[in-house]
Amino acid sequence: MSTEIKTVEGITKESTQAMINEVLELYPEKGKKKRAAHLAPNDQASGSACVKSNKKTVPGVMSARGCAYAGAKGVVWGPIRDMVHVSHGPVGCGWYSWGTRRNLMSGITGVNSFPMQFTSDFQEKDVVYGGDKKLATLLQEAKDLFPLAKGISVLSECPVGLIGDDINQVAKVASKELDIPVIPCNCEGFRGVSQSLGHHISNDTIRDYIIETREFPEPVGPYDIALIGEYNIGGDAWSTKPLLEECGFNVKAVWTGDGEMDRIAATHQVKLNVIHCYRSMNYMCKVMEEKYGIPWIELNFFGPTKIRESLRKLAELFDDSIKEKVEAVIAKYDPQMQAIIEEYKPRLDGKKVMLYVGGLRPRHTINAYEDLGMTCVGSGYEFAHTDDYDRTASEMPDATVVYDDASEIEMEHFAHILKPDLIGSGIKEKYLFQKMAIPFRQMHSWDYSGPYHGYKGFPIFARDIDMAVNSPTWKLVEAPF
């Protein structure tokens, strides 16, 4: 946690509040009142949230949020590579979430790796008569066609919950008959206010159905850890896992990027959980701490400053041999990272960035931008909770704007006033800001690039940010006539 108060020239609490007030004037009374609580200038020294969060989206505003199903399928369950994940309900949800989060997988598709779209493609008759029978047949078919699948998850979409199907019972029976875990996950999209509840529900199902059902054949070692909340976007896990291994750790399981069911199920045997995406998996870390006494530590692998800080924090929990290895790793990579900074910082120094992403990166990446000389002038989350905003206050410069579940019109307004040199947000925001001639990177999916995590990721991150900000194409936007 940084202690010095960071400031940005021209930005004061008053100027930020005035900017917020202006955008609130666009709303009708009721909408204005609801949104006001979600927009505020940061108070860096306080170390606590300045906005309300995890509340219902205001109807009729252009929100970027997804749903519980999206959190369950797209984030937590979907990336486990050796399981069949069934989108149970109508065809759309599975179709839209198919491959779009870029959680890369090893293995042979359809054999021992399943980055495919499995759905029960609900029809009207399923809604009227219930879909349980169809589900039972479907599970048998999945087992027959994909004999090497280690398990099946059943992720329910809205209609399933509304008509009251009992997928839990179907899953229970099928598990026994097929002799593989069939995990029912009641993650209907209407539950909760965002993706976030989907993460929680999924964590609960891992707790109830998966963990402790497998054991590692080899004895537990002192450096056995699990990497939690790492989804292998653009190959992130293939950067962080080897890095931790280079530091002397045995990464026994990754949750859930390129994840394996068996290994996740045996995670109760590790010595420590290292969590990256706190928002989506802090519940599970807490469960494992309470139930199995496994401590956990929250780390950040974006940019050399945070990687260094994180690795040292981690080493502190272990013996001298780990500390030595960690120092050696830092010493090995620091010059490489310095070279990257020297290459890109001259072109990025003093540039302003506005962030608006899911539940973690708006605070985790701030320092990586700062490593490149950039300043974050606005930050916010689609589906964060108070504890995320608590963790954001100290990272964000003082008095800069913090927005929760920002509507598109708010983001647009802030961008007009703050004139950022880069916006890091999602696909729904990308093209509107590019039309405004503001350079943009998709920070959910790394804009089809990556990895961005770890030492392997930082050079790619730096290159991509430089490419976005300094692309000569932006100079062509204004016609000479």
Partner: protein
């Protein structure tokens, strides 16, 4: 010890390599194909989306029209991001963010608050409402809700608010498109029909077609004819807007007054008999003038038919420029047929696209071998079969309706083809089969600019032909041995 599922605790195991190899070989076999085709309940890699996505596309096609999802927030995000990814353009749409309490109490409060907010914030000229699953299941009454919203003053009385029921557990994106388009036209044309008035214009319904180049091409053809026109649901500027440093939420779209006056048109022509079936049925009974619904003009024969139909309906001769263009296209086909003749294709996609693409392949001597629609009817199956039967090149072709891309994979692994035509989702099957995928369809997530390249008309023929033939030539160049690496192909 047993877990919640009653399963025993097992050791973490790796699947032996030999077993992985065995299954990897097995999934390419006839035996597997049979098993795969015996599926009753499981759908794997479908090539269709749900109704509301189509509804949103139709809603975007009108000036100042704000697509409004009555249902869960997440649904709206999914439709928007899908359109963003395909067009690489903004897709501004809102939802009224229904949650559990909506499920219990109904979605009227959400709809009212949503209408009030979106009207004030985004200043639309029309709010086009369509549903996702939740309100469909709980049975929300949109007619009453919208009426109440007007009474309570959340939206002005004169703001058009067409609405369509688009349950995702029924039909596919093309049906949602049809339902929303119908609702919009019914709303806008209400009370606008004037006895004796004729706009002199042709109404053109392109149907669910996420190719902005196609829409522009229709317009160019009509202009060449000198036929005044209104495209009903014109997405061409909406999803192909210039970058000049200004973001406009509603770039282009069919003018609302033109859409309203379309009821007094001279001619109405629907292209694609499947994706505008309901709309066409309605406007045949309600619109002035002449009407026709014909297949999309893919390939020479269907483009000829399109132009002849235009001429017949409007009394205008086919312009010389288009006849010359036909000559250019045919010239290319005769020049390039050798690269495509006898080549086998697997084709999948929406009904109207399939009919057009198969027709094109047959007329250039290619063999559509597997023709697959993951959401289709018996009628479509018959129509496609009749099309195949009409040509000696269709002799080996088979039609598969309500089969998905995992079925397609089995087909191309057991009965190989030279190429696949479809959307981006086919890239995995194409890679396994080691053949090219020609991305003529929706969605295309992994290539740039293809939505601007017209596939219809003579220009479309030339685009498809050169794309296909040049790729085949590329493959030869990339894979031949040095001795056969020739200057001339």
């Amino acid at each position: 010890m047993a877990n919640n599922l009653g399963l025993k605790v097992k050791p973490v195991t790796e699947i032996p390599e030999a077993e992985v190899n065995r299954v990897a070989a097995w999934i390419n076999t006839e035996e597997y194909k049979e098993k795969n085709f015996a599926r009753q309940a499981l759908v794997i890699n479908p090539a269709h989306a749900c109704q509301p996505l189509g509804a949103e596309l139709a809603a975007h096609g009108f000036e100042g029209s704000l697509p409004f999802v009555h249902g869960s927030q997440g649904c709206a995000s999914y439709y928007r991001s899908t359109l963003n990814r395909h067009f690489r353009e903004p897709a501004p749409a809102v939802s009224d963010a229904m949650t559990e309490d909506g499920a219990v109490f109904g979605g009227q409060n959400n709809l009212h608050e949503g209408l009030e907010n979106s009207y004030k914030l985004y200043k639309p000229k029309m709010i086009s409402v369509f549903t996702s699953c939740m309100p469909e299941i709980i049975g929300d009454d949109l007619t009453a809700f919208i009426k109440n919203a007007r009474i309570k003053g959340f939206v002005p009385n004169d703001l058009p608010i067409p609405y369509a029921n688009t349950p995702s557990f029924n039909g596919s994106h093309i049906h949602g498109y049809d339902a929303m388009l119908l609702a919009i036209l019914q709303t806008l044309t209400q009370g606008k029909k004037v006895e004796g008035r004729c706009t002199g214009k042709l109404n053109l319904l392109p149907g669910f077609d996420a190719n902005t180049g196609n829409i522009r091409e229709y317009k160019r053809i009509l202009e060449a004819f000198g036929i005044p026109y209104t495209v009903l649901a014109d997405i061409s500027d909406v999803f192909d807007s210039p970058n000049d440093g200004t973001y406009r939420p509603y770039p282009g779209g069919t003018k609302l007054e033109d859409a309203a006056d379309s009821v007094n048109g001279k001619v109405t022509l629907a292209l694609g008999t499947y994706s505008t079936a309901k709309t066409y049925g309605w406007l045949k009974d309600n619109y002035s003038g002449k009407h026709a619904s014909i297949p999309m003009p893919f390939g020479i024969a269907k483009t000829d038919a399109f132009l002849l139909k235009l001429s017949e309906l409007t009394g205008k001769p086919i312009p010389a420029s288009l006849k010359e263009e036909r000559g250019h296209a045919v010239d290319l086909l005769t020049d390039a047929h050798q690269y495509i003749h006898g080549k086998k294709f697997a084709v999948y996609g929406d009904p109207d696209y399939l009919l057009g693409l198969v027709s094109f392949l047959l007329e250039v001597g290619a063999k559509p071998t597997h023709v697959l629609c993951s959401k289709g009817t018996k009628k479509l199956e018959k129509e496609l079969q009749a099309l195949l039967d009409s040509s000696p090149f269709g002799k080996e072709g088979k039609v598969y309706v309500n089969k998905d891309l995992w079925h397609l994979r089995s087909l191309v692994m057991t009965e190989p083809v030279d190429a696949i035509i479809g959307d981006t989702h086919g890239k995995f099957a194409a890679r396994d089969a080691k053949v090219p995928l020609f991305r003529f369809g929706f969605p295309i997530f992994d290539r740039v600019n293809l939505h601007r390249e017209p596939l219809i008309g003579y220009q479309g023929v030339m685009n498809m032909m050169s794309t296909i033939c040049n790729k085949f030539i590329d493959v030869v160049d990339e894979t031949c041995d040095d001795r056969q690496f020739e200057m001339m192909r």
